[in-house]
C-alpha cells in the first residue's frame, strides 16, 4: 500500500506538487496548479486515482470534491429542512397537540362529572335528612294524637264506669233501705202470728207498737 503510493508520487511529481499547493486553498487553485502541467487535466486524474482506490491527497481534504459536495449538501439539506419544517414536524406537533387537548378536555369532563356526582350525593343526603326529620315529626304527632285519644277515651270510660258504679250503689242502698223497711212489717206479722198462736188474736197495732218498742 505504502510502496504503491510512493510509486505513484514518483510517477506524477507535477500532479502531486499541484495539489499540495492547493491543499489549503480552494478548487480553482488545483486547477491552476495542474493546468501548469500540460500532461494532466485535473478531473481526469482525480477520477482515475479515485477509481483506483488512491488519491494523491487524503480524500476528505481533496478540494476538487468540494463543489459537488457543497452543491448536494445544499440541495439535500435544504430539502430536508423544508420537508421537516413544512410537513413532518407540524404534522407530529399537531398529533401531539391534538392528543394533549383531547386528554385535557376528557379530564375536565371527568372532573365536571365528579363534581356533579358530589352535588347529587349532597342533595340526596340533604333530602334524606329532611325526610327523616319529617318522618320523625309525623311519628311524634301521631303518637301524641293517639295518646291524647287514648287518654280521652279512658277518662270517658272511667267517668261512665264511676257513674254506673255510683248509680248501682244508690240502687243497692235504696233496695237495702227498702228491704230494711220490710223487716219491721215481717217482724210484726211474725210476732202477730206467734202471739196469736200462743194467746189468741191480738190487735195488729199493738204488735206493731211492741215490735217498734223492742227494736227501738
Amino acid at each position: 500500500m505504502v510502496t504503491q503510493a510512493y510509486a505513484q508520487e514518483a510517477e506524477l511529481p507535477a500532479d502531486d506538487h499541484g495539489t499540495e499547493a492547493a491543499g489549503a486553498a480552494d478548487a480553482m487553485h488545483v486547477e491552476e496548479g495542474v493546468h501548469a502541467d500540460p500532461t494532466h487535466d485535473t478531473h481526469a486524474t482525480t477520477e482515475a486515482h479515485g477509481d483506483a482506490g488512491h488519491s494523491d491527497v487524503f480524500p476528505p481534504f481533496d478540494p476538487a470534491t468540494f463543489p459537488s459536495q457543497l452543491l448536494w449538501l445544499a440541495i439535500t439539506f435544504g430539502a430536508l429542512y423544508l420537508l421537516m419544517s413544512k410537513l413532518a414536524l407540524p404534522r407530529i406537533g399537531g398529533i401531539l397537540e391534538n392528543r394533549k387537548t383531547l386528554i385535557d378536555t376528557d379530564l375536565a369532563a371527568a372532573d365536571a362529572d365528579r363534581q356533579k356526582t358530589d352535588a347529587a350525593i349532597a342533595a340526596y343526603e340533604k333530602a334524606l335528612a329532611e325526610a327523616k326529620a319529617n318522618a320523625q315529626g309525623i311519628a311524634n304527632k301521631n303518637r301524641e294524637a293517639i295518646q291524647a285519644d287514648i287518654a280521652a277515651k279512658r277518662s270517658a270510660a272511667e267517668a261512665d264506669l264511676s257513674a254506673k258504679v255510683s248509680a248501682a250503689e244508690a240502687r243497692i242502698a235504696q233496695t237495702k233501705a227498702e228491704a230494711l223497711t220490710h223487716v219491721d212489717e215481717i217482724a210484726a206479722e211474725t210476732a202477730q202470728a206467734v202471739v196469736s198462736q200462743l194467746v189468741g188474736d191480738v190487735a195488729p197495732d199493738s204488735v206493731r207498737a211492741a215490735v217498734a218498742k223492742v227494736k227501738g
Binding site: 500500500m1 486547477e31 487524503f58 476528505p60 459537488s68 459536495q69 439539506f77 429542512y81 413532518a88 414536524l89
Partner: protein, 259 residues
C-alpha cells in the same frame, strides 16, 4: 491491497457529471459539479428521514403505532433539547436543529453499513453544517438584538479591569466554534472508520499472509473490530446529539446574548 486500504472508503467518485461553471470550455477547466457517491448517500439519508417520518405519521393516530411513536419520541427528544437549552423562544429554530440532528444521525448510521459511504467523514460537509449554524447565530443575533448582541463578548458582572483579558478570550472562543463543531464530528467519524478498517484489514492480511496460523491470529483483530463496531454506533449517535445540543446552546446566545 486496495481492499485493506483504510483511506479507500473516503474516496469520492463521480456517478455522473452534471455541469461545469467557468473555465475555458476545455476539459479540466472550471468548476465541475457532479452527482457523486457522497451525493447519493446524502439523498438516501434525506429520503430515509422524510419517508420514515411522513409514512409513520400518515395515520395521525390518537393511539400511536410503533413507527408513529418512534417519530413522536424523536420529535419530543429534539424539542426537549432545544427548549431546555434555548428556551421557548428558541423553538423557532426547532426545525433547523431537528434537521441537523436527524441528518447527522442517519448519515452516521448509514456509514456503519459495510460498503456505504459516510457523508459526515468529509470536513467540507461538517464545516458547511457548522457554518450554517454559526451564520444563523450571527445574523439572527444582530437582527434580533442589534448592537446589544456584542454584549455576548462582555460578560456581565466582570470587573472593568479584567474585561481587556476576558473579551478577547470570548471573541476567540466564539470564532472557534464552527471549527470545533465541524472538526469534532468529522474527526470522530473519520478516526472511527479508519480504526475499524485497520483492524479488519489486519485480519485479512494475516489470513492472506500466514495461512492457517493467520486464521488463529486474525481472531484478535476481528474481536477488536466487533467491539469497535458497537462503539462506533455509539459515537455516531452521540456526535449527532452533541452537534444538536451545541447548536441549541449557540442559538441560545443569539436569543439571549447577555450571559
Amino acid at each position: 491491497m486496495a481492499g485493506t486500504d483504510p483511506i479507500h472508503q473516503f474516496v469520492i467518485y463521480d456517478i455522473f457529471e452534471l455541469f461545469t461553471v467557468g473555465g475555458d470550455g476545455t476539459e479540466g477547466t472550471g468548476t465541475t459539479f457532479a452527482f457523486t457517491n457522497s451525493a447519493l448517500f446524502m439523498v438516501l439519508t434525506v429520503a430515509t428521514i422524510a419517508v420514515f417520518l411522513l409514512l409513520s405519521t400518515s395515520g395521525k393516530k390518537l393511539i400511536p403505532t410503533r413507527a408513529q411513536l418512534t417519530a413522536e419520541l424523536l420529535y419530543e427528544f429534539v424539542a426537549g433539547m432545544v427548549r431546555s437549552s434555548a428556551g421557548t423562544a428558541g423553538m423557532k429554530f426547532f426545525p433547523l436543529v431537528f434537521s441537523l440532528f436527524t441528518f447527522i444521525f442517519v448519515a452516521n448510521m448509514f456509514g456503519m453499513v459495510p460498503y456505504f459511504f459516510t457523508v459526515t467523514s468529509h470536513i467540507i460537509v461538517t464545516f458547511a453544517l457548522s457554518m450554517l449554524v454559526f451564520l444563523t447565530v450571527i445574523i439572527y443575533g444582530f437582527v434580533k438584538n442589534g448592537p446589544k448582541f456584542l454584549k455576548l463578548f462582555v460578560p456581565a458582572g466582570v470587573p472593568g479591569y479584567i474585561l481587556p483579558i476576558v473579551t478577547p478570550i470570548e471573541v476567540i472562543s466564539f470564532l472557534s466554534r464552527p471549527i470545533s463543531l465541524s472538526v469534532r464530528l468529522f474527526g470522530n467519524i473519520l478516526a472511527g472508520h479508519i480504526t475499524l478498517k485497520v483492524f479488519t484489514g489486519f485480519a485479512v492480511m494475516m489470513i492472506g499472509g500466514l495461512g492457517a496460523l493467520g486464521w488463529l491470529g486474525a481472531t484478535l483483530p476481528v474481536l477488536m473490530a466487533i467491539a469497535l463496531t458497537g462503539l462506533e454506533f455509539l459515537v455516531g449517535a452521540v456526535q449527532a446529539y452533541v452537534f444538536a445540543v451545541l447548536t441549541s446552546m449557540y442559538l441560545n446566545d443569539a436569543i439571549h446574548p447577555s450571559h
